[in-house]
Symmetry: D5
Subunit: 135 residues, 10 copies
Amino acid sequence: MYLTRLIYASSKTEHCTDKGIEGILAAAERNNPKYGLTGVLCFNRKHFLQCLEGPRDPINTLYQRISSDSRHSRVTLVEYCATEQRFFDQWAMKYVPDSKKMQTLAFRYSDCNDFDPYRMSAASALAFLQAVSSQ
Amino acid sequence: MYLTRLIYASSKTEHCTDKGIEGILAAAERNNPKYGLTGVLCFNRKHFLQCLEGPRDPINTLYQRISSDSRHSRVTLVEYCATEQRFFDQWAMKYVPDSKKMQTLAFRYSDCNDFDPYRMSAASALAFLQAVSSQ
Amino acid sequence: MYLTRLIYASSKTEHCTDKGIEGILAAAERNNPKYGLTGVLCFNRKHFLQCLEGPRDPINTLYQRISSDSRHSRVTLVEYCATEQRFFDQWAMKYVPDSKKMQTLAFRYSDCNDFDPYRMSAASALAFLQAVSSQ
Amino acid sequence: MYLTRLIYASSKTEHCTDKGIEGILAAAERNNPKYGLTGVLCFNRKHFLQCLEGPRDPINTLYQRISSDSRHSRVTLVEYCATEQRFFDQWAMKYVPDSKKMQTLAFRYSDCNDFDPYRMSAASALAFLQAVSSQ
Amino acid sequence: MYLTRLIYASSKTEHCTDKGIEGILAAAERNNPKYGLTGVLCFNRKHFLQCLEGPRDPINTLYQRISSDSRHSRVTLVEYCATEQRFFDQWAMKYVPDSKKMQTLAFRYSDCNDFDPYRMSAASALAFLQAVSSQ
Amino acid sequence: MYLTRLIYASSKTEHCTDKGIEGILAAAERNNPKYGLTGVLCFNRKHFLQCLEGPRDPINTLYQRISSDSRHSRVTLVEYCATEQRFFDQWAMKYVPDSKKMQTLAFRYSDCNDFDPYRMSAASALAFLQAVSSQ
Amino acid sequence: MYLTRLIYASSKTEHCTDKGIEGILAAAERNNPKYGLTGVLCFNRKHFLQCLEGPRDPINTLYQRISSDSRHSRVTLVEYCATEQRFFDQWAMKYVPDSKKMQTLAFRYSDCNDFDPYRMSAASALAFLQAVSSQ
Amino acid sequence: MYLTRLIYASSKTEHCTDKGIEGILAAAERNNPKYGLTGVLCFNRKHFLQCLEGPRDPINTLYQRISSDSRHSRVTLVEYCATEQRFFDQWAMKYVPDSKKMQTLAFRYSDCNDFDPYRMSAASALAFLQAVSSQ
Amino acid sequence: MYLTRLIYASSKTEHCTDKGIEGILAAAERNNPKYGLTGVLCFNRKHFLQCLEGPRDPINTLYQRISSDSRHSRVTLVEYCATEQRFFDQWAMKYVPDSKKMQTLAFRYSDCNDFDPYRMSAASALAFLQAVSSQ
Amino acid sequence: MYLTRLIYASSKTEHCTDKGIEGILAAAERNNPKYGLTGVLCFNRKHFLQCLEGPRDPINTLYQRISSDSRHSRVTLVEYCATEQRFFDQWAMKYVPDSKKMQTLAFRYSDCNDFDPYRMSAASALAFLQAVSSQ
Ligand SMILES: Cc1cc2nc3c(=O)[nH]c(=O)nc-3n(C[C@H](O)[C@H](O)[C@H](O)COP(=O)(O)O)c2cc1C
Ligand SMILES: Cc1cc2nc3c(=O)[nH]c(=O)nc-3n(C[C@H](O)[C@H](O)[C@H](O)COP(=O)(O)O)c2cc1C
Ligand SMILES: Cc1cc2nc3c(=O)[nH]c(=O)nc-3n(C[C@H](O)[C@H](O)[C@H](O)COP(=O)(O)O)c2cc1C
Ligand SMILES: Cc1cc2nc3c(=O)[nH]c(=O)nc-3n(C[C@H](O)[C@H](O)[C@H](O)COP(=O)(O)O)c2cc1C
Ligand SMILES: Cc1cc2nc3c(=O)[nH]c(=O)nc-3n(C[C@H](O)[C@H](O)[C@H](O)COP(=O)(O)O)c2cc1C
Ligand SMILES: Cc1cc2nc3c(=O)[nH]c(=O)nc-3n(C[C@H](O)[C@H](O)[C@H](O)COP(=O)(O)O)c2cc1C
Ligand SMILES: Cc1cc2nc3c(=O)[nH]c(=O)nc-3n(C[C@H](O)[C@H](O)[C@H](O)COP(=O)(O)O)c2cc1C
Ligand SMILES: Cc1cc2nc3c(=O)[nH]c(=O)nc-3n(C[C@H](O)[C@H](O)[C@H](O)COP(=O)(O)O)c2cc1C
Ligand SMILES: Cc1cc2nc3c(=O)[nH]c(=O)nc-3n(C[C@H](O)[C@H](O)[C@H](O)COP(=O)(O)O)c2cc1C
Ligand SMILES: Cc1cc2nc3c(=O)[nH]c(=O)nc-3n(C[C@H](O)[C@H](O)[C@H](O)COP(=O)(O)O)c2cc1C
């Protein structure tokens, strides 16, 4: 298991201000390239859906750090698997903020009016992330 | 089982006037968005074929209401399954009234001269609904 | 679609007394053979999981009657499909009341301590019903 | 088994004149639409290859009438199956008389210099009929 | 297509007396071995379900004779295909009259209380015939 | 995703004494049944390989607690997926201490002389855990 | 393509006396082991069905010699393919003369009353040869 | 087995002059159409690779004649199978003499610098023949 | 790629005496356990067929040492792949010397009278090694 | 097993100067065409990833020479298999030196910031080599 993909869903807590988001993205820019990590982070001011791609050890280390970060809670794995290729290799961490496009696609790939990543199957979540991060 | 699809066939009763159809569509516009439901409703003045997509609970609740609605009878499930993505996500309930196109496609996907959704397999019904609701 | 199988989950309401259960089973014995229906009904005093096998029309008619029966609520489809053969053809409606065996098997085929049929996939539900109704 | 497809091969007898062919096509135009039947009929003045699509009962009734029609003999089934969709839904009975194109395609899909539908597998026969009836 | 299997369903007419059945079986004993035909014939005094195995031409010739035999009507193909091996090679025509076992198995493989071969899929019909003709 | 399975590998730290192990097992006995969790824990005094089965939320909550437990480090996911059935449903947490059998099986399912769960594929790890916990 | 299997059918000519058969078997015993060839030869005094297993070159050389042997004619390939293992490795050339068992099995695997290997598909022929040469 | 394909490799002998090749092609033009045979013949002045398509009997008859033709030797089957359609139906026998294109393609589909059809798998040989005979 | 399997064939040289074989087996006993390697070595005094199972790096290191060992030549890979489980985990290197059983099995899984591992496909070689090393 | 593909990874040693690389490529130009070998060699001044395509024997001979070449070490097989067609047939040995494109693609197909062929699965390595050698 060399190249690994991990997708999780989580919920913003009150400790997460706009500064908090900036801090997350700054940390991702700072750390992810060092460890060969790439991915995408969706955020609609309520929930996060993040995909991490890269080596198995840094993915696990980072996931433990992320999953105990007080800026979100109910951190829940959606997919974890070996993979032949990255899908988000051009970004340390592509940030996808709330938008009409995101809402439209979230609705297509889930059973919810609002973006609720807890209610996406692994296949739906990956398809959603690929669609939402494409131009 | 998050995102769910339900397809059923039914037959108009005498209680269903033109007003009745308007009432159905108004109810769908009023209710479906509230519950994250989308779909398509075909009607040739004799039979209905409806697809409902969305969360499992509202689909079941609505199906029970619909199946006891006196405007139609012999309400019969054609398909019920989990699904990765919606096919009719742009409509609360796309309405497809009788037309030449509908007759042509109904004929291609069934063994009937007239549109008779009771005589479509689950695969034929879904293919028909996708074809008939496309531009 | 000749031979059809339908599985649903539901929850006992306060209107369902011991007599209520007896009434259900009596109705099943009275009606199901008339319509070529067979199946199994699991009940742990809280939830029902029922499988109905037989012709498509009576299955739909009965399901509409059952789904509006006040003795249970939150009636939710788990599986609906065509099938080559019946699995419960020896019973008008095999009744499986609460038992140690039922709890053990429910636990094996779901993520719950107690029997909660809403939390079984279609495949888990059918495997559970076959296991629990076998000698 | 709603939508059904039947393909058979047969051989013209001496009772089949040009008028005979006209009579066949007239009968097909007259009867097939009534029963929801569509199809294609290939004829090279020696052999017939016919595909019938539609409801199971009329297909069987018509096949019995056709198979005892004295204008041909050695009527032999090539394929009989349920199908999701019609391939010849635009024609009551598309007639494909002998032509260079028909000979070329018959040769590609069989082991014969001349069109001999007895020597086509079910898959070859369907592929041939689709090719020969396309523009 | 060398070895061929044909299964059909039909309904006894008033012209079919007990003598009629004897005549059918006598004809089968007399003719089928001559043409390399084997099979099984189920009869519950109302419907027939017959499987014919053997060479393609005699199967088609016999099917045309049988399908115009006035002792039954609504003769309807259930399956027609090439096959690697016979399943009923020990009998010119195994006769399976009505019995408790036949009813039990017919019920398992169809959606009917009574044996109704029109309501069996091709797979159900073959499985039923194998089960009912086994010791 | 109802029933979920998570497998991870980790390494004992110096903070993990014999008492530590007892504490882990006591916690598992105390907590896992409350949350519908079952599983197996292999330990060869150096590495852990643990499988957790049950509802998605408690599995994620417990995994976050476990992954920050100072008694082990380099906690690394091996598998995370939805599943139809539990394999270890008879145990709150079956404990498999070091033994000859464990060494033999670890060797069969990995490329290591000693039990090193970091070097097992997801399929090898599950096959190993099933073999080692069977009688 | 190392290990190769070739099956062919042919017809005895008048030049083939009993001595002829003995000569064939003597030749097979004499030559086949030299070239690593094994197989089975069925003969009902009218037709041959032979399977040759072994290296590609000797199989082709021998097949050319055999196919121009005047003791039979209409030599016709049934199967030619690479294979993982021999099925008749215990015999230079197992001889299976006419017998009740052979007739019964030939009938099961073909559409003929008598053993006619020209009318067996490749799969039927191999299944027949395995059945007929087993004890 | 109606439509059949046979591919073989062989080696030119000294008896094969330029006239010899002309004679082969003349024979093919003369005979193949009579028997419904089509195909392609590759020749690099050393080896032949030929594909024959058509009815089973003429293919076997011709193959026996060809395989005892003194203009080549080490005649070796590469593939023999039933097929749904011809690939070379526009030619009695398309002749592909040595060329740069042939060498390039032979190299892509084999492990040889020079065209050596003995060292092509059945799949490689067919892919090579399709590529080399396309415009 | 953790657990790896490598199979190769080779030929004894004159430098390989009986002592040579003893030396090989002694080296295998001495070294393989150190590196977690297991396997089987077949030898018929002419050819070797060896399977090595274990971690990827030692397999490659040992294969380089073995492939330049002067006791054999024409060392040729037969299979190299990742695998879920070892098949020969009970032996540092099971030695299978020439025997009747080995000859019989070599013949079944190859096109040769004598054991010639160069002429076994990867699948034949593994099946042969499993058969020959079983009791 | 005619056409064979072998992929390996290795690491440059200090003995490998720029001259060394030139020498490798000169040797490849000199030798590979003689033996029908083609392929691609990637080198980022630290690691090599090479694919060799061609006949089995020269591939094994060359691999033994290459794997004992002092210009690199830790030579490790990634894939070895039979194949229907070459992918790099236009080059004796296409050389792909370090470049931005190579880094981008290496990153997409592995878990590493830098090109590290030891951390590519067989499928990733082949996909990377095809992408990196395409125009
Ligand atoms: C939703 C979410 C996503 C995050 N994604 C990343 C990430 O991709 N990379 C990262 O280094 N930190 C990420 N973090 C922040 C980490 O939890 C942690 O704060 C950070 O890695 C600490 O980095 P530092 O040690 O460089 O300050 C994320 C946090 C949250 C809440
Ligand atoms: C064929 C048919 C389709 C219907 N589809 C919908 C629907 O998509 N959504 C909906 O809310 N009601 C639908 N209805 C109407 C329901 O049966 C019911 O009248 C309605 O949900 C009541 O809504 P209300 O409580 O807002 O008045 C349908 C009825 C029929 C007969
Ligand atoms: C959980 C549940 C299962 C039931 N199963 C059946 C059944 O299998 N057959 C049946 O006829 N009625 C069943 N019933 C009862 C029906 O809802 C209804 O009361 C009954 O069919 C009426 O029958 P009757 O018209 O003969 O009185 C069930 C009810 C419940 C609550
Ligand atoms: C080769 C052939 C194809 C035929 N196809 C059809 C057909 O598609 N539809 C049809 O009604 N009759 C067809 N017939 C004619 C029927 O055998 C029969 O004559 C006709 O259905 C009688 O129709 P009528 O009762 O309207 O006169 C065909 C006959 C032959 C010989
Ligand atoms: C349900 C049914 C099944 C029949 N099965 C056969 C059969 O297997 N073989 C047969 O020769 N005739 C069978 N027949 C009778 C044929 O229709 C026809 O009467 C008979 O083949 C005439 O034979 P004969 O020409 O020898 O008198 C069957 C008839 C019916 C109604
Ligand atoms: C290898 C390992 C496995 C563990 N397994 C479990 C477990 O299955 N269930 C559990 O509740 N705690 C488990 N723990 C302990 C938790 O990390 C934590 O200490 C415990 O859940 C706290 O329980 P408490 O809040 O009841 O004291 C495990 C710890 C380690 C190091
Ligand atoms: C049906 C048939 C099967 C044969 N099988 C074999 C065979 O398996 N091996 C063989 O050497 N010859 C076989 N022969 C005989 C060859 O055609 C040929 O006569 C023989 O190989 C000559 O052998 P000789 O050169 O040793 O005399 C067979 C012939 C026939 C007609
Ligand atoms: C490589 C090769 C390919 C041949 N291909 C054919 C062919 O496709 N058709 C054919 O009739 N003869 C072919 N022949 C020639 C036959 O062996 C034989 O000479 C010819 O069929 C005799 O034909 P004739 O009886 O009309 O003279 C081929 C010969 C060789 C050596
Ligand atoms: C056919 C063959 C198989 C061998 N198998 C092994 C083996 O499994 N393990 C091993 O260590 N050496 C094996 N060797 C011997 C090695 O080539 C080498 O001599 C040996 O590993 C040196 O070990 P040493 O450094 O401990 O002396 C084999 C040699 C041959 C010719
Ligand atoms: C990474 C690497 C790749 C090589 N690739 C090839 C190659 O494709 N062909 C080749 O002949 N030699 C190759 N060599 C060189 C061989 O190891 C060896 O030096 C060469 O084949 C000797 O050729 P010569 O005998 O013609 O001097 C390679 C060496 C290295 C280190």
